[in-house]
Symmetry: C2
Subunit: 343 residues, 2 copies
């Protein structure tokens, strides 16, 4: 692999001149510029980005931490981030945190050790204090789906409480009064906030929250199926289920059908996220739109603006959830309650 030195020799100029035409940041006469360009082409020269990074103290790479690399949700997020950053010729280094504190911290250290210029973090387990301290370090961070008041300007988040409220209200508006919830893990802030929104909607309809109708899931299909199984075994009445996310809804629907329940007439179901497969579930899933791809792009924008000095970019920190109505919700029918149908 040719080096800048060889190029300079072939072109008959100095190292610095070659560097200048590469970075295009200082005036070079057209004549010498062409000589250099020709030499580069002839040698098939490619700059060594490692050396560039060392010399310039800028690695042109940004570290991304997500809980999982698989699934539509994180996929959409990664995709949004990568497309933006890539267009700006920045490298994307990824790691998975698995929603475990130790892994998340280790991953962050890992990314810092790689001299990333910035970090985009989707973290769940680490504490606010940790994040605040981290944000005071030398390497800038942005948070996705996490709101920490002290560093609010670095948070790209969704109003989860509002989302939980909208989901529940959609059901209440259809006349449902006995709502079950299969939540996300309640130690996670987003899950907790969605539940707060749920309770708020209930209160607005003068209904009281029934702890017996709450099952804690895991944001996965299995949490949804286990949750539905538990709810049905409890033999307590409910006509609708608010699910933590689309995956949870999917699992819940599968189990409901295994119990010969008809959807949505026996049980109405609503999801959260509006992942791409929500519209392909049967019945087509009503859900709350979570614009995670746009949020990923926004996080990338934040980095472009504040780390790479692209001043023309505007940042939106808070995104709004939106109700998506499809077929998985029906009007409440008093005459049928699901547990009556289970032998």
């Amino acid at each position: 692999m040719a080096t800048i030195y060889e190029v300079s020799e072939l072109a008959g100029v100095s190292l610095a001149t070659v560097s200048r035409v590469m970075n295009n940041n200082a005036r070079v006469s057209d004549k010498t510029k062409e000589k250099v360009l020709a030499a580069m082409k002839q040698l098939d020269y490619r700059p060594n980005s490692i050396a560039q990074s060392l010399a310039s103290n800028c690695s042109n790479s940004v570290g991304i931490l997500v809980s999982e690399l698989s699934g539509y949700f994180y996929g959409a997020m990664l995709s949004g981030i990568e497309s933006k950053l890539r267009a700006a010729h920045k490298h994307v280094i990824i790691a998975a945190g698995h929603a475990e504190e130790a892994t998340e911290i280790e991953s962050i250290d890992f990314l810092i050790g790689r001299n990333c210029d910035a970090l985009i973090l989707h973290v769940e387990a680490v504490s606010d204090e940790y994040l605040i301290k981290l944000s005071q370090g030398s390497i800038p961070i942005v948070l996705i789906n996490r709101y920490v008041a002290e560093i609010a300007d670095r948070c790209i988040s969704l109003n989860n409480e509002q989302g939980g409220y909208l989901a529940t209200k959609a059901l209440l508006d259809k006349g449902h009064k006995e709502l079950a919830v299969i939540s996300g893990p309640l130690w996670k802030k987003d899950a907790k906030n969605r539940l707060i929104g749920h309770k708020k909607a209930l209160k607005e309809f003068s209904l009281t929250f029934n702890q017996d109708l709450l099952v804690e899931g895991d944001y996965n299909e299995s949490g949804g199926s286990n949750g539905m199984q538990l709810l049905l075994e409890k033999k307590v009445n409910f006509t609708a289920v608010v699910c933590a996310n689309d995956e949870t809804a999917s699992g819940a629907m599968t189990v409901a059908r295994e119990h010969k329940l008809h959807l949505p007439s026996d049980i109405s179901i609503i999801g959260f996220d509006n992942t791409i497969f929500a519209r392909h579930l049967y019945p087509k899933l009503s859900t709350i739109n979570y614009p995670v791809d746009k949020m990923g792009q926004m996080a990338a924008n934040w980095v472009l603006k504040y780390v790479y000095q692209n001043d023309s970019i505007n940042i939106d920190n808070l995104f709004k959830p939106e109700l998506i109505i499809r077929d998985s919700i029906s009007a409440h029918n008093d005459s049928i309650t699901p547990n009556l149908k289970i032998s």
Copy 2:
């Protein structure tokens, strides 16, 4: 950020000694080693990996190129790769190729420019010749889901033809004789090979392939729904559909239901990939298992073995597809053909 030099001063030793205890590759007396370690801890020293890379000519990073970052298929692949590499303290740099030749090539250049020690590629659009030439370059590559005979030892692939055969045979075994196909883009090798397997199974059952029953999809839900729509509009008889993958099947099922067709009694459907949501479709989707996570891990293993000299690893190049039977296939019923039911 402390440098190795500051550590050496504090410990009262030379640069080289500090480097030695870091890399633990040369004998250092226990006493000085402890002094150095203490100094490191006191300064909260972290090695600068950029500098390490420059000096050692090894970046400890491997570049990953996938067609898309979103979706369960690529997610599972990425996840498999990352977990293995991460455990070996290697960095993962990702890029998306979007199944377009120009983008794929540009992405590969991008990753090479980042001085990756190796590349794990899931490419679709670039030619075999390009890959062969690339493999002769200085940076090792591994291919996932692509078989190129000349560099077979660098290919981690699935027997797609066998998969296509198994899927079709599953339908034929149930008595279906009029099979429609919603394929992947036929310029992609995997899609083509699956179709070859399809035809092979037909021949085994003394059936002839009917071009009218083939629709080319795009491996996405939309390809499945458009494909099913087209098939139904053609008014040509079929009782089962072989789908390019699970997403395609999902889209096809949605449209079939919109036409009041009952699944699987009116139309049997089989997918491909066995992505995580296949079992949550309704009816639960029969499909072909594609162990993409394991294949991702194997690709990582290849790199660990041949690039980072971990000799204790064994490599499997060819993975086998496997039939997964669920509920989306029923025995053929002569009395019903779907197009009769469409007004």
